[in-house]
């Protein structure tokens, strides 16, 4: 088989004109092609006829020592490249990208007399750089910094995510009122526009910072880091981050929180966990809110929970009503357990 585009050999595949990843020279590594010797070629002539025949073509060539560059990515995120060369001998059967092989005859051009038996346009001047970086790596690195700060200071941080209108802010207000006399709480509110939510939280007496994302559809780790510098939450406190009301985008952006908490209200459809699976997969806890309204609705609670656990078998579910306070004992106990864990880990970080 042709080692560049996969054609020929045991059954010609025409149509794969694009490069295949495996044909790219990989810096720092010698790629072994199949040995040159007797083999079969498929030719396409200018008039469109195509035929194949076995033939042999021993040939000589020279090439410069295999000079190339390496890019190193260090654990701390810095990257640097440096050139070096590997002088080496080889018998045929090894690769040497970077040398063009074109043979020409009357009315016939044969791109592919090289050891790979194929011509790859542009291969001679260009080179491939291995990057292997997460697209969200920068956000992930900033989130890791937030997470380290939370851990060092015993802060239990929750990232609350849901669709708009699921009752996140009402739920936060009640949660804060119930906890305020025994736990220090600070709140980051994310919305595209307005200060309304932060004002509602401030009425409870706890500090709240509003972040407006403008056109943005989610909070990211950098926004939270900057928010933290302004808010300066106390050690051993609870930080509640109310994300932008959006069941899609916030799933992908780690803020450094201990847990994502997804809120699903019973006035939404029970099939939402399947319609928006990413969020329920990313969450550790689902609060099923507005359960005081269940008598007036056709919402099938068991089915909603079953759907959510199809997406995330480990999901913890607590049924609550921010209006009546039903289920809050369980929800507050879950928060208390997290606060205790955060404090314990701060006093004994080596145990982690």
């Amino acid at each position: 088989m042709c080692t560049v585009c996969g054609c020929g050999g045991g059954g010609a595949k025409i149509g794969t004109a694009a490069r295949r990843p495996k044909a790219r020279p990989v810096s720092g590594k010698t790629v072994a092609w199949r040995p040159v010797g007797e083999h079969e070629h498929e030719h396409v002539h200018l008039d469109g006829t195509r035929h194949s025949h076995p033939h042999e073509h021993p040939h000589d060539h020279d090439h410069a020592p295999d000079e190339h560059e390496h890019v190193h990515l260090h654990a701390d995120g810095t990257r640097h490249g440096h050139a070096h060369s590997h002088p080496h001998d080889h018998t045929h059967g090894e690769a040497h990208a970077g040398v063009e092989h074109v043979s020409e005859g009357a009315g016939h051009m044969h791109f592919g007399t090289g050891p790979a038996h194929a011509h790859v346009p542009g291969m001679s001047q260009s080179q491939m750089l291995k990057i292997e970086q997460d697209i969200l790596g920068k956000n992930g690195a900033l989130a890791a910094i937030n997470r380290r700060e939370f851990a060092a200071r015993g802060i239990f941080a929750l990232n609350l995510v849901s669709s708009p209108g699921s009752g996140k802010t009402s739920l936060l207000v009640r949660t804060i009122r119930e906890l305020a006399d025994r736990v220090a709480v600070t709140v980051i509110e994310g919305d595209q526009q307005t200060e309304f939510d932060a004002e509602r939280i401030r009425e409870t007496g706890v500090p709240a910072l509003q972040i407006n994302t403008g056109k943005g559809c989610h909070l990211d780790a950098d926004m939270v880091a900057r928010g933290l510098r302004k808010l300066a939450p106390a050690d051993d406190s609870l930080l509640l981050i109310e994300n932008v009301g959006n069941l899609v985008c916030p799933a992908a952006f780690d803020l450094g929180e201990a847990h994502k908490v997804a809120i699903l209200s019973v006035t939404e459809g029970e099939d939402k966990p399947l319609k928006y699976p990413d969020m329920f997969a990313a969450a550790d806890l689902m609060l099923l809110n507005k359960i005081d309204l269940l008598p007036y609705l056709d919402f099938d609670t068991e089915r909603a929970i079953d759907y959510a656990r199809r997406v995330n078998p480990a999901l913890v579910v607590i049924r609550v009503s921010a209006r009546t306070g039903e289920g809050f004992d369980e929800w507050l106990a879950w928060i208390d357990a997290g606060l205790q864990r955060a404090r314990r880990d701060r006093s004994a970080p080596q145990a982690r």
């Binding site: 990257r79 292997e132 970086q133 697209i135 790596g137 078998p313 480990a314």
Partner: protein, 113 residues
């Protein structure tokens, strides 16, 4: 629809990677996107076309390599192929499947000259 944010991250990674190669041009950007990743590949391509304009990768060809989804079925205690986060295990039909592969979103390599 956070593909625009992803596209901007890609531009950042690309520019960072070729920072010490003045005058170089990025011809191809190879991405690795898992089946289970929360990315719409067509939307990402569209955003990249806009975001890469006037950068070192202006007009670069964007190749997207798919990584098939795979999950660990707790019941079967083995890896099974899945195509969505809520797929049942193809062997036992259960939903105790946690994704183990196919959620990646990475810039894999660049072709530069």
């Amino acid at each position: 629809m956070h593909e625009m944010a992803l596209a901007e991250s890609v531009r950042g990674i690309v520019e960072n990677a070729v920072r010490d190669r003045p005058g170089c041009k990025v011809k191809t950007v190879v991405l690795e996107i898992g089946t289970l990743a929360s990315v719409e590949v067509d939307a990402l391509r569209f955003c990249l076309e806009v975001v890469l304009r006037d950068s070192v990768a202006d007009g670069a060809n964007v190749e997207v390599e798919n990584v098939p989804g795979q999950g660990w079925c707790i019941e079967c205690a083995g890896n099974v192929p899945i195509s969505s986060l809520f797929d049942a295990c193809p062997d036992c039909g259960g939903y105790q499947v946690r994704p183990t592969s196919g959620t990646e979103m990475r810039v894999k390599e660049l072709e530069v000259e």
